[in-house]
């Protein structure tokens, strides 16, 4: 009888997202800021870390700390096993063909730079064109600009409409025989827009053009599948998906990674070194010079375990409901305007208030314990497109609650009052 009750209970709980249960996993959420309970709505910048990830980092530091790939001793073998175990977890998480296609890097920024250096500098030349989009983070603009400047290539930009959706017709027009690379974000960090990347990848492939997807905002919130997307490169950051900073991944198809130049030179990326010639290591080590952030990457593996332990579809549904509710609440406040109203969005809510600068909004929210990002979100061209100097941005994770949205809405009302 007890067994039946338990299974009924389990079903009931899984029917609804038990946010209070989930919050217990994240110790940072228990704290008080400026005398108020912390309302953490800056998840698109960096998400919080669950206890299991913290514990895994402690275990490494207490019991396993050592350098990887080189010691014959016990600890080095333990550290190597844990580090390579994290790579295996990444491989399954994004459904890569092989673990060696998952290069462990400091974050999405380093991943994109790795591809620019390793692929771009080798295969892109004068007169070639690189396509990016109008909603890219600086991390997916500046490396390509640097490459264009060095090689005499041209950067082409896919425009977007007033809702913050990329114009697919214009993208199709931009693609041509000179196009040698496409780098586009899966989800806009400033607007929340989810781009139809599967279609965009297919279009580029018609011209034989490889595609890099900036997955920094998608990996934490959506199920991503390298085989289904068929992208050539996909970069994401651990610290935006409940892992420590310094962890991250750039996935690349093995055939491409193999013909690329290495990224950085140093230890661990070689087979043999003489003063005459160096023979580079095989994948993935070829791209991982020097001692990596071992503890952080092991933490990323633990974060993936954590994500696998929860119902990610329900987590995404919960985040979507928070977005819907927050959009409704903020839109109802006079003078508030939402920036980024695409039909397909993740839980990013950028907004401005008439005649009130986002920094003033951010300071007043902070006094109530609410953490939002106020600024240009490392996406200045997006700000220029919408003709705003900056926005305030609330971004939700599955541990946020409707009550927190209420606190946000009440405090935004207070901001309007102070400046009225």
């Amino acid at each position: 009888m007890a067994t039946i009750e338990q299974s009924v209970l389990a079903r009931t709980q899984s029917g609804d997202w038990d946010v209070e249960r989930i919050r217990e996993d994240f110790p940072v959420l228990r704290q008080v800021v400026n005398g108020k309970p912390l309302v953490y709505l800056d998840n698109a910048a960096s998400s919080q870390v669950p206890q299991v990830v913290i514990d895994r980092g402690s275990i490494y530091l207490e019991d396993e700390h050592s350098n990887i790939h080189r010691g014959v001793h016990y600890l080095s073998q333990k550290a190597t096993t844990a580090y390579e175990g994290a790579r295996e977890k990444v491989k399954r998480f994004i459904n890569a063909h092989e673990a060696r296609e998952c290069i462990l890097v400091r974050g999405a920024t380093e991943g994109i730079n790795l591809v620019m250096q390793g692929y771009g500098r080798k295969f892109i030349g004068p007169g070639d064109e690189i396509i990016i989009s109008a909603m890219e983070h600086h991390a997916n603009i500046v490396p390509w600009q640097m490459l264009c400047e060095e090689k005499g290539a041209t950067l082409r930009v896919i425009p977007m409409n007033d809702a913050g959706e990329l114009l697919q017709d214009e993208y199709d027009e931009l693609l041509n025989e000179r196009t040698k690379f496409v780098a586009v974000t899966h989800v806009s960090n400033a607007l929340g827009t989810i781009n139809p990347i599967k279609r965009m990848i297919d279009q580029a492939h018609k011209y034989g053009v490889p595609v890099l997807i900036d997955g920094a905002q998608s990996a934490p919130h959506m199920l991503v599948d390298m085989q289904d997307l068929d992208c050539d490169f996909y970069a994401f950051s651990g610290h935006k998906m409940f892992a420590p900073t310094g962890s991250g991944v750039v996935y690349g198809k093995a055939a491409l990674l193999e013909k690329m130049n290495p990224f950085q030179g140093g230890g661990d990326m070689i087979k043999s070194v003489t003063f005459e010639k160096t023979i580079y290591a095989d994948l993935p080590n070829k791209f991982e010079a020097g001692t990596p952030a071992i503890a952080s990457q092991i933490g990323l593996g633990a974060a993936i375990d954590y994500l696998n332990s929860i119902d990610r579809k329900k987590a995404a549904a919960h985040e979507h409901e928070l977005l819907r509710y927050a959009t409704e609440r903020l839109t109802a406040i006079e003078g508030v305007r939402i920036i980024g109203t695409a039909r397909q969005k993740t839980s990013v809510l950028s907004f401005v208030i008439d005649d009130i600068h986002p920094h003033d909004i951010g300071t007043i929210l902070d006094q109530e314990g609410i953490a939002v990002r106020a600024g240009h979100h490392c996406a200045q061209p997006v700000m220029q497109r919408f003709n705003v100097p900056a926005t305030a941005r609330a971004s939700f994770a599955f541990y946020n609650t409707k009550e927190e949205v209420d606190v946000l809405a009440r405090t935004v009302e207070k901001v309007v009052e102070i400046f009225s």
Partner: protein
Amino acid sequence: MSELSELYQQVILDHNKKPRNFRTLETANHSAEGYNPLCGDHLTVYLNLENDVVKEISFEGSGCAISKAAASMMTQAVKGKSKQQAQKLFSEFHSMVTGNEEREEGQELNNEAEGLGNLRIFEGVREFPVRVKCATLAWHTMHAALNNLGTTSTE
């Protein structure tokens, strides 16, 4: 909310809404642009310097309430002052908002308070370290204009 009401005092809100000397200056013989790349605040300070005296001063640009009000009140404070006096005000203002005011022996803080006058209302900014750059941007820019330093940045 007490620290907050210290920060957003009525005078500051008023200068934010109706910034004084908010225009380009046709007669300017010095100008400089100031950026705060962290938050996107951007302003230009124009001034007309004759015989080392600031005859006219104005600013334009966009920014948060603190930066706009600070710019507006900076122009009022600096107008008519000598270059040297303007520099001194800058350094006093800077010390006040960063909380680095030093009292020399036997010297009362009141002496400085007199110098800064109504600029003292920015004292609350020191409780908000990330906003100090907002309050000082216009002052840095004025300093750059006076000394022909061109573009200045808080970073």
